[in-house]
Symmetry: D2
Subunit: 263 residues, 4 copies
């Protein structure tokens, strides 16, 4: 799978690292906003993986069509910001290059653009693109459907300077019918990011907890999405769209294990 | 639902309390091993709920058929021990009274008896009959099926004097392909009971944790089972048999929530 | 130690049970508000421990001086309500009977009464009389003094119906300089009570967590206090007053263990 | 404070980053084993902070005395391996340069060398040099001294490939009288490092939990130690030696807060 990466900042860099380590993928190029020369071991590694050509370009100096002519890709992974879409969106859709965007929020006009692009190519947008968070959200929803009377509380913990309630916690809350104002947000030190859903029953408690260890989780999630989208028709997808079929398919395979244990 | 309860010990008593509080159920009688007179507020409450007749009997003084003639029931809930089955089993099966047994382990010959009885009436056996633990087990199995490469660790915590690894932890381990010897058992003070499954990914961790608050959880689980079994054909069931259809049915209803959040 | 217990409600009863189990103590009497006859296994047990005399009295029928004349005690443990104090306070102080009150909050005029009584006898008041919570509070305060720059967050979890922020959490918050409005309160199912203090450092997190298992913890705390007060002069004390000398004394005995490990 | 750093590997590099960010410190040089040229943003940053001179040297090409003549330091911080000591030890002691070693374990002959060097200069050795872990160890010891009857369990969690029980957990176990074989070790995914001490009481549980967020914690601990040692006489110290006086001093300042809360 040939990948173009949009964004080379705090999250884009570990994502590049994850792509470089993946055997089935090839990081064709990185496009970034800054005109500063990119140096350092990660830039070196990207250069080496491309036979000595630096493949880190600045958006303002490199038209997207020229870039895609020189170095075609199967998928563009976007960890930049709201504006990245206007750089690559139209060209990617025209060429049927899949789009995976992890931009944390888009104004509604950009969401309209996503929808339009998705008529020509598969587009996935997930503001919380880690596999673990999305598995947790779906498992929590499933538990709530089965035990609708349980009380639900949501706690999220992040580093001191993070402003506002985390977007991921908002999505969890919305999906479980919890008011955004009822989310409990802790801010302390350098906590990377933790989300916990507490189900309270009269005589027992069930907790689902997701702890982020490092931002490489985003790269792993984006690669998972890029691969799964290979067989999909054009359309607008979320991580949940990719995972729900697995939930259904595997739920069908669930087996009682008890008697196996005892016999 | 008319209920007969077998067992009036440390767990049987809170189960009786839970049944008395349930609007849809009626505790017809309690059968116990000890010949000591039962006194105290719980015995009083059982008496009051039956128009002033004490309905707590001792197995050795009360033949099961006489008991079922006087006070017929729809289901027998068994929190006694291995021997309870030989008291009520044959009579219950003959009369098509449903059986819910929460006895924590049966020798294989008793398991054979369960299977035989189950040709005549629905029989459920669950050594860990709480709703929460079984939901957790199924959710953990589902996550593992979807993310089979994640590392899995199991931790259980119980009160100081609990001997051996908890049966529930063994069932969790077996279902997830973890060796029984790899379960981590903590014993400290008066902890009622905690089970945690840790899924380790390279850059993130997902934890499922079940905490028992009080033994009433067993009564809630038994009532849930007794009600669900109302529509079932004769056969041998576990809690998981009752819950898996809910998992499948609800997994089908899972919906991506993302765009709803943002629009 | 001869003990009189004031209050025989939801918390008073398990406290009575704890006192009955303590080898060094003797439950001389219980005084309660309700005129209903007390029955049940706990009442039986109290009766048996006093050679067959029921020793559960109703405040309105039993003048405190008559009670103390018949059955003198060394300490009165109060788990009743605000009003208990007016029943026994003056008589206890006059007879130099120690007072341990676990009433959760007193209006300021009752606090004045406590102060006055404490000129004649040792009086301890603690709205959160468990040993564990008080140890946690002191340890958290000590850590904050040593690492004053760490961020601090406080989370408390209780059963669904508990109203308002827990008093214990308020005391923790006040002691650590956290605003009461910044406490995060979760309400779910039947959680008995959990308090967690999170210290956030840039690259690490330290958590202190207290989990209540059962209300017997209050009895254990009250007995601990009653015994420690045996050697104290009249005065007004808190649990912290009893524990701080232990902190100081034991902090002096702290030893570096490293070289012992390696040699 | 002028600092020389020994070791520029997986832990040494984030330590260098922490030193560069500290206002009161100056990273004079780094000594490393590898002869490969050091490049990348961190090397650039070290160069810039020293007016354009690269200050990363290879041990085999740079005699320690020449290095200390050119660029004198107040303290050497060692995150290399067992062998680092033979490079800088004797020269540092002769020049009264303080030594802070975070090497995770030393054979006994190297421990003897440490002792000898410490007759000339203050030497601190801590295989677990984070502030948080050491605070947790001391707090746990203090709680155990005050509540010696509580059950104690120790759990440590680390990334999948970590071999053996963590050294830190061993030190915790030793200090609390827990057998090394009773430590519960979890290995899952990429968990940076978690240590938990569980105190079990009959009716309550107290947990102390330390979670490592990133290896910068080691740098913070080393800087803390280097600064505290400024006023110390020659001798062999551990992190606990530096922290215990704070524990004693602050324990003396502990205040009951109750009545302040209520008045």
């Amino acid at each position: 799978m040939r990948i173009g990466l949009c964004g080379f900042g705090k999250t884009g860099r570990p994502v590049a690292r994850t792509i470089l380590q993946d055997r089935d993928s090839r990081l064709e190029w990185v496009i970034r906003r800054s005109v500063h020369a990119s140096r350092g071991p990660l830039a070196d590694q990207i250069e080496r993986s491309n036979s000595g050509n630096s493949r880190i370009f600045t958006a303002s100096n490199m038209p997207i069509d020229a870039l895609l002519d020189m170095y075609p890709v199967d998928v563009i992974i976007d960890f930049s910001g709201v504006d990245g879409l206007s750089y690559y969106g139209e060209a990617a859709a025209r060429r049927a290059v899949r789009i995976v965007s992890a931009v944390s929020s888009y104004p509604s006009e950009h969401q309209d653009i996503l929808r339009e692009l998705s008529t020509q190519t598969p587009v996935l947008w997930s503001p919380n693109i880690t596999l673990g968070v999305n598995l947790m959200i779906l498992a929590a929803n499933l538990l709530q459907m089965i035990a609708p009377l349980a009380d639900v509380e949501i706690v999220e913990e992040h580093f001191r300077l993070k402003k506002g309630v985390s977007n991921t916690a908002k999505i969890i809350a919305q999906s479980l019918g919890v008011l955004e104002g009822d989310i409990k947000s802790l801010r302390a030190g350098g906590i990377v990011g933790t989300h916990e859903v507490v189900f309270g029953f009269p005589s027992q408690t069930v907790r689902l907890r997701h702890e982020s260890v490092s931002p490489e989780a985003f790269g792993e999630g984006a690669l998972f999405a890029a691969k799964r989208m290979e067989t999909l028709a054009p359309g607008l997808y979320t991580m949940e769209d990719l995972l729900i079929p697995s939930f259904i398919e595997n739920a069908r395979k669930l087996q009682p294990r008890l008697f196996a244990v005892n016999s």
